[in-house]
Amino acid sequence: MNSRFSTNVLSILSLAVLWEVAGRTLDSALIPPLSQIGAAWWKLLSSGKLLSNLTMSLATLAAGFFLAVLIGIVVGVLMGRFRAVEHFLDLYVNALMSAPMTAFVPVLILWFGLGVQSRIAVVFLFAVFVIIINTMTGVKQVDSVFVEMARSFGAKEKEIFFKIILPAAMPAIMAGVRLGMGRAVKGMVTAEMLLTLTGIGAMIMQYGSSFATDSLFAVILTILMVAMITMKLVQWVDQRLTGWKVEIAIE
């Protein structure tokens, strides 16, 4: 853990140095040195512009992702438990899992307009299918001997679900949630760039088209940080819910 952390720091530091040196040597507006990006980042932060946009983006992300987790787990569980539901839905889920979600943006504009609902819908669609598929797989792969054991001790269907199926499938569900989180961040930025220019997506478009590369990179780095922090957050929840599994993996 510690050596991993120090290697991570080393990796970031060497990239930062390389970037700074390259920026200064090339002396091009296209690759500003890191120090200049940092200055631009600080300016955006202290003016309040970055935070207000970020708050708006994160609200969309939270709403869309929450819906995706909720509906993704419910649908995934139903598909994993009932073969009829699986066969009824798996065609669409599999198709939509790998379809480019950006193609649906015009449809969403028609349905939901240009407001926040559309952006939430994009985040939702980006994230939900990978959660459904992982949940379904997890539920289907629960060792039948556990179910048999529970039944033998007199468990009812409800108890079998909450005491056996759900905890046994939790590692797979959380894997889906983790992947869904990454996709949700992509959905958030996509929606803000393609739908209505709001949030940090709008800042990217604005600075990109006006060649303000230092501010542009500052926003991009902010998005990377958001992606990393949200991922850590999901990992933290995962660890709390399925710590038993991680222990096994370490051995």
């Binding site: 556990f146 048999e148 033998s152 001790f153 007199g154 399925t242 599994k245 222990e247």
Partner: protein, 260 residues
């Protein structure tokens, strides 16, 4: 008293749209007395496990029936508990929580659950391991936890499905001795499925020899060895040696007849 009357069971086996009927059990009858230790031995696939599951009420039979003290069995009940070959311990629960599982389903309050679970963990020698997870224990210890979980609900009948089949030979002998001690103290009816002739004779009052698929009762043998049985003495007893040899011959005969 357990009455097994004319049990038959078939499974549909489907391979590439070809459905074939697989006869697991054919007309199995047997009666087992209270507090009796009965082993069921037979070649792989003779339906021993299927028979155990039918007695537990986990799967229905096609014809015939089971009754316990005159009451017909159609579903799992509080008078029976199973010890599984693969232990079936829940990996996300500690040993204590695993033993509590069977008690949770009986809706006992938390305090009573913990007290009972600890008591049975002590009896199987796992008192110091209640906070361990199953994967941190050896196979033998995992099965002790499985046994504690079954005993904790205080069943009349213990159904054991090759419980010591996946532990090493030394541990297996230890577990056999411990099981006999527990059985002598707690006085339960035990139906014990096994592959091992030695194990069947050492543990049982009677040994049921089954034929290959479809499983039928080939022979029911009394074990004329006095109890308590000291493991080393018993195994040197000529009656022990004769009986294991006899069972081996009986199994061979059953398998030869099957091939003809």
């Amino acid at each position: 008293m357990i009455e097994i009357q004319g049990i038959s069971k078939s499974f549909q086996k489907t391979v590439k749209n070809n459905s074939t009927e697989l006869r697991a059990l054919a007309n199995v009858s047997l009666s087992i007395r209270e507090n009796e230790f009965v082993s069921i031995i037979g070649p792989s696939g003779c339906g021993k496990t299927t028979l155990l599951k039918i007695i537990d009420g986990l799967i229905p039979c096609d014809s015939g029936g089971i009754s316990i003290n005159g009451k017909h069995v159609s579903a799992p009940g509080p008078d029976r508990a199973v010890v599984f070959q693969t232990f079936a311990l829940l990996p996300w629960r500690t040993v204590l929580a695993n033993v509590e599982f069977s008690l949770e389903l009986r809706r006992l309050p938390k305090e009573e659950r913990e007290r009972t679970a600890r008591e049975y963990l002590k009896r199987v020698g796992l008192a110091d391991f209640e906070n361990h997870y199953p994967h941190e224990l050896s196979g033998g210890m995992q099965q002790r936890a499985g046994l504690a979980r079954a005993l904790a609900v205080n069943p009349m009948i213990l159904l054991m499905d090759e419980p010591f089949g996946s532990v090493d030979a030394q541990t297996r002998q230890l577990l056999q001795e411990e099981l006999l001690e527990l059985w002598q103290r707690e006085r339960k009816t035990v139906i014990f499925v096994t592959h091992s002739m030695d194990e069947a004779v050492y543990l049982s009052d009677r040994v049921v020899v089954m034929t290959p698929r479809p499983g039928k009762v080939a022979e029911v043998l009394d074990v004329p060895l006095p109890r308590p049985r000291l493991p080393d003495e018993v195994r040197r007893d000529p009656k022990f040696v004769d009986l294991t040899n006899y069972i081996w011959d009986s199994l061979k005969k059953a398998m030869e007849n099957h091939h003809e």
